[in-house]
């Protein structure tokens, strides 16, 4: 099993837009990735509803885990995505 911790880079937290980008990434990865505040509270990174229900805020640390072939690389990709400010990348506030 591969697991790493990462601080959420989007100030808005794991809200709709960053959650959507994570779900899109998770769907492309070869193994299921789980995410949560600790190992007892892990949810499927491919479920936007579960991610949103975590209510993770910007600056919070989360745990990313995966199992199986390619797990290491999958976790790295997710960690890199989460560390970025996903909200500022494309959003022009109305």
């Amino acid at each position: 099993m591969s697991s790493r911790k990462v601080v959420i880079g989007s100030p808005v937290g794991l809200h709709a837009r960053p959650a959507k980008l994570l779900v899109e990434l998770a769907g492309r990865l070869p193994v299921p990735v789980k995410i949560g505040r600790d190992e007892n509270q892990l949810v499927d990174a491919a479920s936007i509803l579960a991610l949103m229900a975590l209510g993770v805020r910007g600056g919070e640390e989360v745990l990313v885990t995966a199992e199986g072939e390619g797990a290491e690389d999958a976790v790295t990709q997710v960690v890199e995505l989460l560390a970025r400010d996903l909200d500022s990348a494309e959003q022009a506030p109305a």
Binding site: H15, L49, M52, G55, A94
Partner: protein, 563 residues
């Protein structure tokens, strides 16, 4: 005489046409028969959810920008694997298709609502998908705007965000909703699309499909079965008003240049950019409740500082009056209020919460002070629900300790309005919250539509209290503003100017009409008008006094023009 229903003016303009009612979301009875063939129910439920997703995708394809992004996220939510699992679990537990869908969504809706804030609002997106899927499973018409030929006036309880993106201004002549205020989603979208709209019109519940109605989004009225003369008249008035409003801009003032500041009521950081771009002189009421509602604990000083900064940034060089937390009554906040008050409107709310829980108030003042330092808006602070001069003095001291220079209080309690002179001796300015002041003056709950007449801002006792506050402020040489609904009434604007009110704070959309109404009168005319209105014994005579006065002025002007 045409029969008129009243609501809130939400988007200016006038239009007439046949009613088309929004199809309401399906309501499932609490009892169901356990299906004989669960496989068939699972297939039906899956098919219904697929149909709802396909429908969303079709709608998403026709929009762009922010709307598209919102709908794409909504589609992803609808496709979430946990919904499919939930449906199959519910079917296995003996639910028919429609109930299985309801149960599968229920857990997620509750989870998002529990988080509140931005994520809480996404619960509405989920509810929208759920209702569409349930309607499909039951073979009912899809909730929302029915597909009809020709143009119509859309009537409903309220319009869901997903439906508003589909509003076609070529077909939707006007909008009337039973619920919602001037800042509701429906109102914002209607204004953006230039569709005349009246919201919060309780009488609209009685309107039936096909009935001809005329909507006047400027006055907030809906006429049932109007004759052609009536329709022509309101259309002509709307056109001339549009022309007139476009003719004015800049700071608020009477015809002879007596200034009355035009300020904005701002309720969140969300629309900050739009608000800042508006032609207004600043913010007269920045409600801070949005940061505290739907949470289990208070926001930190740093979070508050950032959120206030969002708004201050756009108002560089302009005044921004930040109101400290107004928790209680209709704005229940678990960590600030207690549940066991028999009469929350008369309980520990507004400033009183800060007295019981000083940490909340001092953290907020600290955040405001820090945010003010981060930006160069002219920041002032005011406390809600002040009843006595001693409370006003205590708040002033606390705010000054936090380095805030300009400190005011809201006048919302009759006691404070009656003793305005003593209150003004303690603070730099006052702002009258006419909504609560009406509620407390007339002992009429703001939430009870049935008592709406007593809460009319034209009520003489309310206006008498406003006059008392304005006179005291004039004497003290300090500003007295109005930041309740009354401030957005163009009919009352010259009356308030005549009483000596120095600023009017309202929603962005109300500004042009209020500005034009002030420009229509000299300060002397405003004073005469105010005196006439104060003499009126009831609402109809007060309104009549203004109508007759303005008719006389128009006659006068046209005679002046001829000579």
């Amino acid at each position: 005489m045409v029969d008129e229903l009243r609501g809130n003016p939400a988007s200016p303009g006038a239009a007439a046409g046949p009613v088309v009612r929004l199809t309401p979301p399906p309501v499932l009875p609490e009892h169901w028969d356990t299906p004989a063939a669960p496989e068939a129910e699972l297939a039906a439920a899956t098919e219904a959810l697929d149909a709802a997703v396909a429908d969303l995708e079709k709608r998403a394809a026709s929009v762009s920008g922010e709307s598209k992004s919102i709908m794409d996220t909504q589609i992803m939510m609808a496709q979430d694997p946990s919904l499919r699992t939930g449906i199959s679990d519910a079917v296995a537990g003996g639910r028919p298709a429609a109930w299985a869908i309801r149960d599968a969504f229920g857990k997620h809706v509750a989870a998002l609502e529990a988080i509140g804030g931005y994520l809480g609002e996404r619960a509405a997106d989920l509810i929208d998908i759920r209702d569409r899927a349930i309607a499909a499973a039951l073979g009912l018409a899809q909730p929302g705007i029915p597909a009809v030929d020709g143009a119509f006036v859309l009537v409903g309880q309220d319009i869901a965000p997903a439906d508003t993106v589909l509003l076609d201004p070529a077909k939707v002549l006007g909008i009337v909703t039973e619920k919602g205020g001037p800042t509701s989603h429906t109102a914002i979208v209607a204004r953006a699309l230039g569709i005349p709209a009246v919201v919060g019109c309780a009488g609209a519940a009685g309107l039936a499909d096909g009935q001809r109605i005329a909507v006047d989004g400027t006055r907030g009225t809906v006429a049932v079965d109007p004759d052609d003369d009536y329709v022509h008249r309101i259309e002509a008035e709307a056109a001339s008003l549009k022309e007139k409003l476009a003719a004015h801009s800049g700071p608020g003032a009477t015809a002879d240049g007596h200034p009355v500041k035009l300020l904005l009521n701002v309720g969140s950081a969300g629309g900050a950019a739009t608000d800042a771009a508006a032609d207004a002189e600043g913010v007269g009421l920045f409600r801070t409740e949005f940061l505290f509602l739907d949470r289990t604990e208070a926001p930190t000083v740093e979070e508050q500082r950032a959120a206030y900064g969002e708004v201050l940034r756009g108002f560089s060089g302009r005044q921004v009056v930040i109101r400290t937390l107004d928790a209680g009554a209709d704005k229940y906040i678990p960590f600030a209020n207690t549940e066991d008050e028999p009469n929350p409107a008369l309980g520990v709310r507004g400033y009183r919460v800060g007295v019981r829980n000083p940490g909340l108030l001092t953290a907020q003042l600290e955040a405001i002070s820090l945010a003010a330092g981060d930006h160069d808006a002219d920041v002032r602070v005011m406390a809600p629900m002040i009843a006595t001069p001693a409370e006003a003095a205590a708040f002033r001291e606390l705010a000054r300790e936090h380095g805030i220079g300009k400190v005011g209080v809201m006048i919302e309690v009759p006691a404070a309005a009656i003793r305005a002179r003593d209150i003004l001796a303690e603070v730099d300015f006052v702002s009258i919250g006419t909504n609560d002041l009406s509620q407390y003056t007339y002992a009429a709950d703001r939430m009870l539509g049935e008592l709406g007449e007593l809460l009319d801002p034209w009520q003489p006792a309310l206006l008498a209290l406003v006059a008392n506050v304005a006179a005291a402020a004039k004497e003290a040489g300090k500003p007295a503003g109005i930041c309740g609904e009354a401030a957005s009434d163009p009919g009352l604007a010259p009356v308030f100017a005549g009483l000596g009110i120095t600023s009017l704070s309202m929603s962005v959309s109300a500004v042009p009409a209020v500005r034009a109404a002030l420009k229509d009168h000299t300060v002397e005319q405003c004073e005469i008008l105010a005196a006439e209105v104060l003499r009126a014994p009831d609402v109809p005579s007060a309104r009549k006094a203004v109508e007759e006065f303005s008719a006389r002025s128009v006659d006068q002007r046209s005679r002046d023009g001829e000579s």
